[in-house]
């Protein structure tokens, strides 16, 4: 009995293959976009975990200085002499050309076996070669490929290391990082000798740091991945509209079958169970297809994501996507959960369907005025929650709650707004066909409202994210012009060479401005502190958001400090606040500057103060001011005079182009997800129109019988779809603006630590509007074509008595 009933249910899909295809495609696309984001995030997290696990940082404790400063060599020796089993490590950023490398120096002889990620005594590396000059750099194969042609010590390959990391002997690393005798931390062997003298007596300046359970990178990039997840979820939600529409339609079409099955003796419980089984089969099919598609999308997007993460955070992510069971499981679970959630109301209707319910399908999803108002009230409530989340809430989660509630609230309000607009249009219409057109369009609204809500979400996301990216681009380009005011940027190969170059340049340029920095620990957070030489370049160009009147004089006098916006926001700093630098030196905040594209805390002090605090600061980088038309000539002379590689002298345009490239790639993924979401929404309209086409026949046939040609009716059908898309686009503009504001003023501030001025781009809306009109016309084209091609015999069936 059950099998017979199940085949009767499934036979619907055999007769309505297009509807089945739309249901599977909608769910598969929704799952695909979500899975793509999950696969990318999982890949990134895997890379972060590998990076965090380098030399056992995730398993072994370490000794570090309380103030975050490097540990002196003497301290290490004292500890070893006292019997402490510790091993020194230096870690720093090594620049080569335009790239960066995380260099970790170890002492292989004292390194605990648990931290020995790479066996440096193996034949292919060799202990002697590793520890004696010029030393070796052990890197992952893909890092070696990036280093090809760079002036580095000999390379050895190891699959055990994550990309972007190089391992060397500590002595070699100290030399490469220009930090002789310095140690970042001391790794503690897990088993220590008994009866050791306490740490406080040998090295009171050190404290024990527990193994890191979460890497800095993971924390730093959380917001980036949360952004991606939010967009993935939006795409999934848009896809679910298709699923909901397709399932709802199937329910209405199968109403007579359901009633008959009940009448023939199928228990209600069995009918519900069969309906759920059917949904599970369909959702699993679509889920497998969706996750597979998602991997394809992720493979295409991953290079851009990896480039964004490298450019923004210095985080290295493997370019190769690995298949992870968790992504498959989550994708399938989401497909099943999404389908069941979309079908919940229909399942409830089946469970409560009276045996003698009307067998004819009702007008699909006919919505009473009361239901419309109730839905709109729910939408208004969500908008209120969105506003409250902004006013009362804090943090990124509150930002996303506000964003989600605003989008969903606007979507729920859409049918009522459209209904009112169409009623008004009908009242203003003069001709009988015009009046019928608007009245009929209004009647189609319940059947199309889900697809239109999906379109609203997609259009609003496009308009909003477009405004956000556009505002960011305008601000970023302006900011780059201010920030990159110097004509040339030079990286010497050593401090000595840098000294020589600056002397050489003194007579040949207008100014030489050092770009020297050291890491400080301020308010418990590592901060890169730069030293600024007082110069008109900074006085005229530096992008200050807030400043004391005598900001530059106080900086030059060594009594003031500038902090970047993200540090000021994170630590709630204001002008006049005091910050303590190493050695207990207190500085007053005299300015806050914008620092887009950098998620980390940064500060600036006078160059003399920097040199006083950090006499061994790396002095290799500096900028050169010269008349722009002489910049290229000077760069060439400098390269010749010092036999410098081309990458070590970069002109302003190249740096700007590089920065903009990172910027564009950062938003390439967002743009791709946006376009895909719009595509899914267009598909939702197409699916709805196509599946409604059969039901429409009963409404169109009388009008045809009374004298309107099929061609005209088909044209009106296309116009109807375009009119609804236009009104939805108009509604999407304010929603998009609200979304852009939330992204710029709330989410960005929480996620990245900077706020941007908002700009609007009406031309983009026009382009988006045209795109949605074309999508709507294309979506309506096939049903309209089918209508034109209808044989009169099919149309008169509507009037036949023996239907």
């Amino acid at each position: 009995m059950l099998w017979q009933a199940f085949t009767a249910l499934l036979s619907h899909w055999r007769r309505h293959r297009l509807q089945l295809a739309m249901l599977l495609l909608g769910l598969a696309l929704a799952t695909a976009l979500w899975s793509a984001v999950q696969a990318i995030n999982a890949q990134a997290r895997l890379s972060y975990a590998r990076a965090a696990a380098v030399i056992g940082q995730d398993r072994l404790s370490a000794l570090v200085r309380v103030d975050g400063a490097p540990i002196a060599q003497d301290t290490y020796i004292r500890l070893r002499q006292a019997g402490w089993l510790v091993s020194p490590v230096i870690e720093g950023e090594l620049r080569f050309g335009s790239g960066r490398l995380r260099l970790i120096g170890i002492e292989p002889l004292t390194l605990p076996p648990q931290a020995a990620q790479v066996d440096v005594s193996a034949d292919d590396i060799g202990l002697a070669a590793f520890i004696t000059p010029p030393g070796l750099l052990v890197v992952a194969p893909e890092t070696a490929a990036r280093l090809a042609g760079e002036a580095t010590p000999p390379l050895r390959l190891s699959e055990a290391l994550p990309p972007g990391v190089a391992l060397s002997d500590i002595g070699i690393a100290q030399r490469l990082l220009a930090q002789p005798g310095r140690i970042s931390r001391l790794i503690l062997a897990p088993v220590q000798l008994s009866g050791l003298p306490p740490l406080a007596t040998i090295a009171p300046e050190l404290v024990m740091r527990a193994p890191a359970t979460e890497s800095d990178l993971s924390r730093l990039t959380d917001s980036f991945h949360l952004n991606l997840t939010a967009f993935g979820f939006l795409a999934f939600a848009v896809g679910l509209f298709i699923v909901h529409a397709a399932i709802g339609l199937a329910f209405e079409q199968r109403r007579p079958v359901l009633r008959t099955l009940r009448a023939l003796g199928l228990p209600l419980r069995a009918l519900v169970a069969l309906s759920i089984t059917e949904l599970l089969v369909l959702s699993l099919l679509a889920g497998v297809l969706g996750v597979a598609l998602g991997y394809g999308v992720a493979a295409v997007l991953l290079p851009d994501v990896a480039a964004s993460l490298r450019g923004l955070y210095g985080a290295e992510v493997d370019g190769q996507l690995s298949l992870q069971p968790s992504v498959w499981a989550l994708g399938l679970a989401l497909a099943v959960a999404g389908t069941l959630a979309s079908a919940a109301s229909r399942l409830w209707r089946i469970a409560t369907l009276p045996l003698l319910a009307p067998a004819q399908p009702r007008a699909w999803s006919r919505m009473s005025a009361q239901a419309l108002v109730l839905q709109a009230a729910a939408g208004t409530g969500l908008l209120a929650i969105s506003a409250l989340a902004v006013i009362i809430g804090h943090g990124l989660v509150a930002g996303f709650v506000s964003l989600g509630a605003m989008l969903l609230g606007a979507a729920l309000l859409l049918p009522l707004v459209l209904s009112l607009v169409l009623a008004l249009a009908g009242r203003m219409g003069r001709g009988v066909v015009t009046q019928w057109f608007w009245a009929d369009t209004r009647q189609q609204l319940p059947g199309l409202s889900l697809a239109l809500m999906a379109l609203l979400l997609a259009l609003a996301a496009n308009a909003g994210v477009g405004a956000m990216v556009g505002s960011f681009r305008l601000t970023f380009v302006g900011w780059l012009d201010q920030r990159l005011a110097s004509e040339l940027y030079v990286t010497a190969r050593s401090d000595e060479e840098s000294d020589l170059m600056r002397s050489w340049l003194a007579a040949r340029s207008d100014a030489v401005l050092p770009i020297w920095s050291a890491e400080e620990k301020i308010l418990g957070e590592p901060v890169q502190v730069y030293g600024l030489r007082d110069h008109v370049t900074y006085r005229e160009n530096w992008p200050l958001l807030a400043a004391a009147p005598d900001v530059w004089d106080r900086l030059e006098a060594g009594t003031g400090i500038l902090v970047n916006e993200q540090m000021a926001r994170r630590k709630h700093l204001r002008l006049g606040d005091e910050l303590t630098l190493s050695g207990g030196r207190s500085q007053t905040i005299v300015g806050i500057y914008s620092d887009y594209g950098n998620p980390k805390a940064q500060a600036m002090i006078g160059i003399d103060l920097l040199l006083a605090l950090h006499p061994d600061v790396n002095r290799q980088r500096f900028a050169v001011r010269i008349a722009p038309d002489r910049a290229a000539g000077l760069a060439a002379q400098l390269r010749d005079a010092f036999a410098l590689p081309a990458d070590n002298v970069i002109d302003q345009a190249s740096v700007k182009a590089f920065s903009l490239r990172i910027f564009e790639r950062t938003f390439a993924v967002t743009a791709a997800l946006n376009v895909l979401t719009l595509g899914v929404a267009a598909l939702a309209i197409f699916a709805s129109l196509l599946t409604l086409a059969d039901m429409r026949l009963a409404q169109l046939a009388p009008v045809w019988a009374m004298g309107l040609t099929l061609r005209r009716l088909a044209l009106l059908e296309v116009l109807r779809s375009m009119a609804l898309a236009s009104f939805t686009m108009l509604a999407a503009v304010p929603v998009g603006l609200a979304l852009a504001w939330l992204l710029l003023a709330v989410v960005n501030v929480e996620a990245f630590g900077w706020q941007l001025p908002m700009h609007v781009f009406p031309l983009d809306w026009l382009r988006l509007g045209s795109l949605s009109l074309i999508s709507a016309a294309l979506a309506a084209a096939l049903p309209a074509l089918q209508l034109v091609r209808r044989q009169p015999s099919a149309l008169v069936m509507v009037f036949a008595n023996e239907r």
């Binding site: 009963a698 009388p702 004298g707 009037f799 239907r803």
Partner: protein, 218 residues
């Protein structure tokens, strides 16, 4: 002669092969005539009505309306013919659900460019719809809906009313009342009426009757 069907045949393709619904049917209808078309289920009554109304085309034969062969008309001319010459009344009423009663009543007349508000008001009055003009079809009973359909068919002052089982969905008393109204209005307007019905009792109330059996006139 208002309507002449000459040797009209019609075949529909089906899963079991072509199905011949009408075979060489010839029929004439004078202006103002009132004819019942009877026959068993599947005898081709509705098909004949649809062909006469320009809703479908025959495979063979001529359909002359006021001497003009409508089979030869193009799609837009045929649509204009339906708009201006024919008033259709269906068993399922087939009102436009998105329009209220007043708009439904006037719909075809306005399409045909012959909207006469006074005539529409008079029709509404005669059909007992004056108090229902602001309602929508779903808010009406079957009898009320069929009265709106009759009003819609007559509002454009067509020359021929084609009614397909107009009382088939109504109980006997309501059906009789609706038919009384339709016949009275048909007589007033001078339109011809061709009505398909199963009921010999109702057929007897019309001026003449033709019987269709297995696609042929009996």
């Amino acid at each position: 002669m208002l309507l002449e069907l000459k040797d009209v045949s019609k075949t529909y393709p089906t899963g079991e092969g072509p199905l011949r619904v009408l075979s060489g049917v010839s029929l004439s209808l004078a202006r103002g005539a009132c004819v019942a078309l009877t026959g068993e289920s599947g005898s081709g009554k509705s098909t004949l009505l649809h062909l006469a109304g320009g809703l479908d085309r025959p495979d063979a034969g001529q359909i002359l309306f006021e001497g003009r062969d409508i089979v030869q008309l193009g799609e837009s001319d045929l649509a204009a013919f339906r708009r201006t010459r024919i008033g259709m009344v269906f068993q399922q009423f087939n009102l436009i659900p998105s329009l209220d009663v007043a708009a439904n009543l006037a719909f075809q007349a306005r399409l045909a460019g012959r909207h006469d508000p006074d005539w529409c008001s008079a029709l509404a009055e005669r059909l007992g719809l004056s108090g229902l003009l602001g309602r929508y079809p779903e808010q009406l009973s079957g009898g009320q809906q069929q009265r709106v359909a009759i009003g819609r068919a007559l509002a454009a002052r067509p020359k021929l009313i084609l009614a397909d089982e107009p009382t088939g969905n109504l109980d006997e008393a309501t059906g009789d009342a609706v038919l009384d109204l339709m016949l009275a209005l048909q007589a007033e307007t001078g339109a011809a009426l061709l009505m398909v019905t199963h009921s010999l009792r109702l057929a007897a109330r019309l001026g003449s009757r033709v019987h269709l059996s297995a696609g042929r006139l009996a």
